[in-house]
Symmetry: D2
Subunit: 342 residues, 4 copies
Amino acid sequence: MGDVLGVAVLGAGHMGADHIRRLDQVVSGARVAAVADPDPERAKEAVAGIEGVSVHTETAAALDAPGVGAVLIASPGPAHEEALLAAFERGLPVLCEKPMVPDSTGALRVVEAEARLGRRLARIGFMRRYDAEYRTLKSLLDGGRLGRPLMLHCVHRNVSSPPGFTSAMLVNSSVSHEIDAARWLLGQELTAVTVLRPRPSAGAPEGLLDPQFVVFETSAGALVDVEVFVNCGFGYQVRCEAVCERGSARIGEAHTMVVTADGGARAEVPQDYLVRFADAYDREVRDWVDATRRGRVTGPGAWDGYAASVVAEAGVRALGTGARTTVEMVERPALYGGTGTR
Amino acid sequence: MGDVLGVAVLGAGHMGADHIRRLDQVVSGARVAAVADPDPERAKEAVAGIEGVSVHTETAAALDAPGVGAVLIASPGPAHEEALLAAFERGLPVLCEKPMVPDSTGALRVVEAEARLGRRLARIGFMRRYDAEYRTLKSLLDGGRLGRPLMLHCVHRNVSSPPGFTSAMLVNSSVSHEIDAARWLLGQELTAVTVLRPRPSAGAPEGLLDPQFVVFETSAGALVDVEVFVNCGFGYQVRCEAVCERGSARIGEAHTMVVTADGGARAEVPQDYLVRFADAYDREVRDWVDATRRGRVTGPGAWDGYAASVVAEAGVRALGTGARTTVEMVERPALYGGTGTR
Amino acid sequence: MGDVLGVAVLGAGHMGADHIRRLDQVVSGARVAAVADPDPERAKEAVAGIEGVSVHTETAAALDAPGVGAVLIASPGPAHEEALLAAFERGLPVLCEKPMVPDSTGALRVVEAEARLGRRLARIGFMRRYDAEYRTLKSLLDGGRLGRPLMLHCVHRNVSSPPGFTSAMLVNSSVSHEIDAARWLLGQELTAVTVLRPRPSAGAPEGLLDPQFVVFETSAGALVDVEVFVNCGFGYQVRCEAVCERGSARIGEAHTMVVTADGGARAEVPQDYLVRFADAYDREVRDWVDATRRGRVTGPGAWDGYAASVVAEAGVRALGTGARTTVEMVERPALYGGTGTR
Amino acid sequence: MGDVLGVAVLGAGHMGADHIRRLDQVVSGARVAAVADPDPERAKEAVAGIEGVSVHTETAAALDAPGVGAVLIASPGPAHEEALLAAFERGLPVLCEKPMVPDSTGALRVVEAEARLGRRLARIGFMRRYDAEYRTLKSLLDGGRLGRPLMLHCVHRNVSSPPGFTSAMLVNSSVSHEIDAARWLLGQELTAVTVLRPRPSAGAPEGLLDPQFVVFETSAGALVDVEVFVNCGFGYQVRCEAVCERGSARIGEAHTMVVTADGGARAEVPQDYLVRFADAYDREVRDWVDATRRGRVTGPGAWDGYAASVVAEAGVRALGTGARTTVEMVERPALYGGTGTR
């Protein structure tokens, strides 16, 4: 399939270190060629025991290091725009963790830069598109057996929110996954959003509006509702039911073992996203490496990253006002034309 | 437990005939003493083979017939108010099919009449309160093990709508069950309603807004969302998930047998409410007969019938305007004080 | 449907008292006319508050009491034979709790007595035939959609065994339900039995061979295996999977509510047979009353009671020897011909 | 982690080609260094597009090819013994597809040869030990929370049997997976076996005894029953329920999506083992490559291969005689002592 792909990994924090392990040990056909992190010690630790990796503190130096043929961006969101533009300048294919760029203005600059290049280089790390359950659902919907999708009922629950998690982050961080998943599953843009706010759970930190109930309208008249509850206490649960004209399909309740004991039959619920989506991350990176080695850019792109930003921003406004808020997007550049959200 | 209860059944249509069969063959301790229907042939047919029943065309005559100790109202909704008032005049306990009275003004007159009497006589036929699954859920919520309920996610699906079914009827007929169930499960009033209207299914009759997505707010800040889809095609499905502070509980997916064949594992979905709620109807009438023979009036009462009417009317207005609509109710009379919605 | 059926209940212990309550309060069309128990105080307690019941210490006196039109035998097993023969003499229809007669010689005498009468009077209380899940499975098997049944995999688990429960009773008391259910579901006789004895559970009383694994062969070459485990600790669980030529069907895992909390999704398992089969008992007695009032004798009969005794005795021998043991039955009298096990 | 592992793959048929693809594209840290197949064209096809592979017709030549550090045996069973011994001579670590050696005499020679070496080199391809569900069950059983395992109820169903499949192969090919899985899950040897033969399904080829019901006894007094049905028609289904002293645990019914349509709720059943165990094969080979690169030999070994052969042979004899047949094994060499079956 061609040479082993040398990857520069930007960011050696939690996510970056996990991707470094994945590239080194799990995914065939790739190797970590360079790593950059403002903290050189952290970078060194993350690549300890891996041969042939150069360690940098600057993005540019890592991208220009010998053997680098692609970039994986796992630095904090605010650093993404600069990194993406630097990769574009060098013509390097990129896998960029979500959010592509936290604010839609910056996201638009990335879209415009790539559009100017005239070819796609960026894939955005919406890993749910690589989850086996989501893929099965997507394939069912695309097949048309159940007719047109009318509604998606989504649930996104975390055991507890990390320190510093804000009410806005329920929308622009947690629900951003559902935003992309809905756009992809339906092949439609989200055009308006309303956020309903039940009285917060006693289990949520003081002042956090948790749970929230977010309702999106789509360009083809479908509805997408999302319960987001980041202090549900009992597990990490991501469910999606697609209600179509001739039937309904649900994912998110798979389990491996049922134990009957103590008066009940019980199936474990995963406790975090790294367990629930472990295979999806592996498949995502494997697919990216395979495609890149074949010279192809596939998967969710810069337009999807931009769209997610715009919708999330509208959602945050809707959370503040309590009112239905329309989503205003620029026209989709020809580069992403037609099948961009598919 | 005292004498066998003689019941006057008003209305010998589909529902009335089913209740006549139930009183005659299923429920111990009661008998059909009289029946009234504008169509005397229909009434005679419904009681064919049952001894000791007098047949009438007028409500008053049936109520005054010998041996009548209670009334079961199964006539069309517009006839209910007069029948209830007639029963109140005679001091007869009543089981009245839903809707108690189709319009809230008439419903209020019933409430006021009973309040003037100073004692409860009416039970309203919200049969879900007698369904085993709903009762298990109610008991869990009341027990408090999962903390306070924050949201109810409800689904109400029918195979297909009968001729003449209107967009408003999705709210004031179908969803009226969820209105009562939510009030009862939560012990809260519904205070506002918004109706979202996805693009209708191709499987719905021309012009029918089906499905709809109805969101209620409650007096204690909980949310209740209801997908109502009366032409879903595949079955009769009533689900409810209560999301609480420390866990979630779901009902509506019980099944008796799983068949693995033809490449899949499959459980039947009931095809209509008479199958799904067969036991609930039996239990409802048995409970009413038992309580009545003991001289007690329990279960959902006139206030619940009134509340359901008011909320449904607000829902129909919300469907028309697309806007969030508040529910305006009179003050609850002392007769229904405190525990009326429980 | 004719007059209310007056029933003489023999035995006022746990089961008898429950049937008295059922006839009085649950089942329409019947009343308790007489009760007999060696302990008159126990009998009086069981019918306290019910009008028109005569209380006796002797079976004959109860059967001859005024108003008695049928008999329900709920006395201890050893008393059944005499009671059945006494009912036969008087031409009274009988519902006899299982076991019909504990030993097959006595059971055969009952069969012969009824055969001499030339008409069926006895129904045996194999209540599983009235359970909704079993009936759904029976109906599927009879419909033939899945082809011929090849195997039944059965599980019969109790939380704990009562004092005095012996190793033989796992076969001739617990598994006797599966013996009848298998004969009925398959429409075949059981022709041989092997009992395998894993090392007993530490949770079983000293000396009790628990669990056991019982394998039956049938007249048409099917296999029926039964795990019987009467000290499983976690619940009362009765499961049955029918493996057919074109698919498999399972019952016994219905549940009403799934609660997700504390890291898992959990459904309650019933804790005893009175919960699991509550509806089946009601339906059984209602069906018996209805049929009896119509002058019909239906349901499992004396032949089924005899067959269960013979198979259970072979099972107990097989438990003792560890060897495959054939079941030797007399020829089936014409009275039970052809469809007797159906 | 050290150098990339060069693997000689013996056999380029269906299984061999799949492993070649896996080593080339899926598993990180390994590469195909040589391939041997009596049919050189088939070998060339299997490695088309992969660089640096030498192609051979003889086992010895492949093992001696440059860059070979380990062997993966995927040739037909009868060729395994010679290949294993050749690998042992060269001190090469081996992953050998099951059966290790089809007959127990040959299997014993492999065990003895490895015991003489004094160190383990062989891992046997019992891939279920790498399946996520089996591992979860194993971990639960080892944890002891449910007490001692008393019984395993297993089901092994295939859609249809390939041409030439014999009645003996249901035991020594299909059930051989359960033989190893049971030994591993329980940490016990299987000591006796009985095969029950229901009347064959009309869906099975003429003369094939299908299904069969195989019952094993274990060294610690547990029971293992296996329904094997290789023409079940509806799917590939592998289930296992472990019944323990304080609870029961089941695997084999995971699914990703439930579709409600056409009157039922339905989950797909996988149609073949390559779908059901795709991840297990990947994990098995990845684990082998990782361990080998670290200089370790782990997983199921030659003793497990020998034990499976002996038990399967006893099973085939039991199938022929219909009688309970004891399993006679040699004493376990010290090399495999103590934890060999774990």
